[in-house]
């Protein structure tokens, strides 16, 4: 562990800055002011990151599809989000005539508020967590579960068949994959023995030789992480699970009838949910803010956290550019017939891992169980499918 004062200052620079700023106030106001300052930073930082991500996403998708992407506004098109922001602010806010105005108005607000709340418990660096809750993980899932209702409110209040269908699809999908998301995180809780996210990071922040003790580097952790990643993709309605807003089928899904800034809020909420769920995955399986190799600890912890989150975002974009969309029945079958049993098995393997004690035996046993189950379930699931050359009746 690095101990030089420069390192500590760089690592804790935001904490030091906050304390310095709050120091100008009378002592009685300081704790409240510190919290308000952190909230302001979270509320500004993540939308900024969202703006950057939209450019990178459009550029990356362009690259994958062999075209340039946005390149007119500013150098390399990097001012595109500013133009988009001004556009969405100045556009007319249309509420359909037969829409349920109050619910139509409340839906985007409640979505964005709930998503912002998720960031309150994420440790973004050493000592950098807004509220270090005893039940932090539970808080995160409680908040992400309440976004489903906003999606439903948006779809139902618009009085539009596309919106309603999109909302139904979105809610069904989110409920199905939420089970997997929760259960795959439970494995981490079983090993750490705590629901507090800072404790979970601290438990992974040690090294054997130069290699870290991240949970992804254990058999149960790898299986859990894969399940978590699949469920997180479905939970954020990203491709290949983007059925709720598949534009070729449903125009834009539950936010078809939204325009102007309300639409921008939905867009923002979607990307913020992506950041939050990547942040949670990073915290649970990828060691949070800890460095990937022991001699890299001189780089500040917050850089590691945000690099890991942005790497996950990159994978999201990559998958969007390369994978086709699933069908509704495939989606549900995959969730309930493959992901859920496999996650339950992973829980049992985790328990086995916990009680087998140190040694190489538990590595062999849990890897064998998980690999065997993966192969067998894959074989059984695909038994009825017919692979090989296909004949298309109308395309010959």
């Amino acid at each position: 562990m690095a101990t030089s004062p420069l390192f500590t200052e760089l690592d804790q620079i935001f904490i030091i800055l906050r304390d310095w700023l709050v120091g100008f106030l009378p002592a009685a106001l300081r704790p409240a002011a510190g919290v308000v300052l952190c909230v302001i930073i979270i509320v500004c930082l993540f939308p900024g990151l969202f703006a950057l991500t939209t450019v990178f996403e459009r550029k990356g998708l362009g690259r994958i599809q062999n075209r340039l992407g946005p390149n007119r506004v500013g150098p390399f098109g990097f001012f595109q989000p500013i133009a988009d922001g001004i556009k969405s602010l100045t556009k007319e806010d249309i509420v359909p005539f037969s829409a349920n105005a109050v619910v139509h108005f409340l839906a985007p607000l409640s979505l964005v508020v709930a998503v912002f709340m998720e960031f309150a418990v994420l440790p973004m660096g050493r000592n950098m967590v807004l509220v270090d809750m005893d039940a932090g993980l539970l808080f995160f899932f409680a908040m992400s579960a309440s976004t489903e209702l906003s999606v439903f409110m948006a779809g139902w209040s618009s009085r539009n068949k596309y919106s309603l269908l999109g909302a139904m699809r979105a809610v069904a999908q989110m409920i199905s994959y939420e089970v997997v998301l929760l259960l795959s995180s439970v494995a981490v809780v079983m090993i750490t023995g705590s629901l507090s996210l800072s404790t979970i990071v601290a438990a992974q922040n040690s090294y054997t030789g130069i290699f870290p003790h991240w949970y992804i580097f254990t058999p149960w952790g790898l299986a859990g992480f894969v399940m978590y990643a699949i469920a997180a993709t479905a939970e954020t309605n990203r491709s290949p699970f983007d059925l709720p807003e598949g534009e070729s089928e449903l125009v834009a899904g539950y936010h078809t009838e939204y325009s102007g800034f309300k639409f921008a809020l939905f867009f923002l909420g979607e990307y913020l949910a992506m950041f939050a769920i990547s942040g949670l995955g990073t915290t649970l399986f990828l060691g949070g803010w800890s460095a990937p190799l022991s001699f890299l600890t001189f780089i500040p912890s917050w850089i590691w956290f945000f690099s890991k989150v942005m790497l996950s975002i990159f994978v999201f974009i990559w998958m969007r550019g390369t994978l086709p969309r699933l069908r509704q029945d495939q989606l549900m079958n995959f969730a309930w017939k493959f992901c859920l049993p496999f996650t339950l098995l992973d829980l049992m393997v985790t328990a086995l891992w916990r009680f087998m004690g140190e040694g190489w035996l538990r590595w062999v046993v849990s890897t064998a169980i998980l690999a065997l189950a993966y192969v067998l379930m894959g074989r059984m699931g695909m038994r009825k499918e017919h692979f090989g050359p296909r004949r298309y009746r109308y395309a010959e």
């Binding site: 619910v103 809750m133 005893d134 039940a135 539970l138 808080f139 899932f141 409680a142 908040m143 579960a145 309440s146 489903e148 209702l149 439903f152 409110m153 139902w156 309603l164 139904m168 809610v171 409920i175 939420e178 023995g193 705590s194 629901l195």
Partner: protein
């Protein structure tokens, strides 16, 4: 009892009343959600983090969604012409008041039976977990069995529907 408590109580009761009195079924469901949220915040105000968050996760994240889904799938979202209030609302009111009176009486009695606690008990999530798999393991298992039976029952009902057209 402070201002926050009264605000939350007003929110909860308001949500509950709206759920009963509003005409549109989906509005009623959303009002129920407000009542659930108020209850969760009351738990949080009492420093019961686990209960509060579990309330949000289970009731807002699952039960409310289940209610709106049921409403939409059964075409109940269309407004009936002859009013939404049942003719026997008075009987319902009496039964509800009776249940409330019994529950209130039980709560007030328990305050007399138990010694007054002055210090706030510090219960962590860890303690709740230990208690759930220790002292209360039998009730937990019974609830789990009941829920599994309910799930299997639901699956059987759904399967029956599917095979009928053949």
């Amino acid at each position: 009892m402070n201002l926050v408590f009264y605000l939350l109580a007003a929110l909860t009761i308001g949500g509950g009343l709206a759920a009963v009195l509003l005409k549109h079924l989906v509005h009623c469901a959303l009002a129920t959600t407000v009542a659930f949220a108020g209850l969760a915040m009351l738990f949080l105000q009492l420093d019961a983090q686990f209960a509060g968050f579990a309330q949000i996760l289970v009731y807002i994240g699952a039960v409310a969604i289940l209610i709106v889904f049921a409403i939409l799938l059964t075409r109940g979202s269309e407004l009936p012409k002859d009013g939404v209030f049942s003719r026997s609302w008075f009987v319902g009111l009496v039964i509800a008041a009776g249940v409330f009176a019994v529950l209130g009486w039980a709560v007030l009695e328990s305050m007399r039976a138990l010694p007054q606690q002055t210090a706030v008990p510090a219960v962590t999530v860890h303690d709740i977990g230990i208690a759930l798999v220790g002292r209360y393991v039998l009730p937990l298992e019974i609830v789990a069995l009941l829920l599994t039976a309910a799930t299997i029952g639901a699956v059987i009902v759904a399967m029956h529907e599917k095979e009928r057209p053949r």
